[in-house]
Symmetry: D2
Subunit: 162 residues, 4 copies
């Protein structure tokens, strides 16, 4: 898999970090954007008692949220300055119990395209200092050409089919 991508905007990092900060939902989850490089992003969520499902594991919806987000920001790292990204769809396989001190989601662009970008995210649970793969995502992300996040917020419209 090629992972040596050339970003259109070499100064993508502050734009991606700004977008992440404006996702109020990340604050509720305690999610942190640890790194964003050309075609890749990593998000962490430390353990909290209110992030669990009925068996005391990290909730699958939380896992899906940061898998999707890591793919979206991996995609965003390769866009031009005035563009924006939307999730078209994603599929998540939950593979092992998500029990531990933190979740780590690593998103990676597989195929960047003019309109559509395909990403994979692997999600690990940190337990006793070891990372265990607990889920994997395959998703499709769409570039909105010449429409920045701020434009979209002003318009209040952001879906692929709008």
């Amino acid at each position: 898999m090629n992972t040596d991508f050339q970003p259109r905007n070499p100064g993508f990092e502050p734009l991606v970090r700004d977008s992440f900060q404006r996702q109020s939902f990340m604050g509720v989850l305690g999610a942190q954007l640890i790194s964003v490089t050309a075609g890749a992003a990593e998000i962490h969520v430390p353990y909290r008692e209110d992030l669990l499902q009925q068996h005391g594991l990290f909730h699958g919806g939380l896992i899906g949220t940061i898998a999707d987000n890591a793919g979206g920001y991996a995609t965003a790292s390769l866009l031009a300055a005035g563009d924006s990204v939307l999730t078209v769809e994603y599929k998540l396989n939950l593979m092992a119990p998500a029990q531990g001190e933190a979740l780590i989601s690593r998103g990676q662009v597989i195929r960047p395209g003019r309109t559509m970008t395909v990403c994979r995210s692997d999600v690990f649970v940190l337990r006793g200092g070891q990372q265990h793969l607990c889920a994997t995502m395959l998703g499709t992300f769409m570039r909105l050409a010449g429409v920045s996040d701020h434009d979209l917020t002003a318009r209040g419209v952001s879906a692929p089919n709008a």
Copy 2:
């Protein structure tokens, strides 16, 4: 599509509601289990400023969370009293801007099986009193025979591959 399912345990409702209550993540999201019938479940999330993505819409991860959960509890409604359910995988298509007063997720069993159950969830956004379809999910759920939620919690293990 057949939607006239016979639950193995006619007294499923309090068990499902108990499981939902023990998902601490639902509390953080303000999610409510509105109804659960044989093969179907409905979950609502009222608008809050901290549930949004960068354009001011409901976050896609939140949409995926309640789509997954509505499918999981639709599945759980058909199980025997001592069984438990796990999400194997799900796929979510985001189709329209999720802007409004509340999210409504309706999960429905398509095909119940001895081990694997397939569900669909449609997610609507309530805006100006009208429901607008904003996402759809197709997912696979697995029965753990003879293993209740409480057993799993005690063992601290809940994944399909455990």
Copy 3:
């Protein structure tokens, strides 16, 4: 679900049928385009001994093929005359043994969009005169604006990311 779609080109049927005929793979499979209406398409494949998997059932790849195609042509029915459609991705759940006299795939547009259209296909197996649901698909299809099938053939390029 809204299924009352207005096609941009009321004369879509011969264009869709022409495209289907040019898929040489449909000939190998013995697949027939039974009907195409605004936002829906139906494809049949009669039983043949060389369409099976190792247990003597219709092969899952065949089921996926006509599920994908029924979604693609359901999408195509709503396009303008000069447009073309590509499959971005699809997910298929196999739910019951595909044993019988024929396969029937019914594709249906869930959400038509300017660029992206989301479709569902249900696949039935005909057995003893009864239709049994054996698989369901959820897929994403992309419009290539102003690029006809014939243009693409001449260019020899048809992928979403081209």
Copy 4:
């Protein structure tokens, strides 16, 4: 990703090859099982004029078929001698034009489980001697414990929900 799997039956190869040979659909497609190792399988399909879609590319349904099959046989390589495998579901992203001399599908187990195994397949098109990634699959496969392919054929039943 761990790819160093221990097969339960070290003599898996002839069983997998026998199962592949009994898929009559592989013969129609001209598909060849090039290799099967512990947790991986590779399938090739040489170009033929009757395997194409309307733009003269390899048909997406063919791509999905060999992506699914490579995942299924990667799973089968890790099973005990008396077990059998079924596809529960798969998702395919088509990423680039499949134009060339042959298709190559490489399936790989990501997470083997007692009941459920998750696999990825990458599909390449061979063009001018170079392999180009054109599609990727993420799928779920189910073990039928103590039920061989031949048992299933005799029973004529093979679905996850049977």
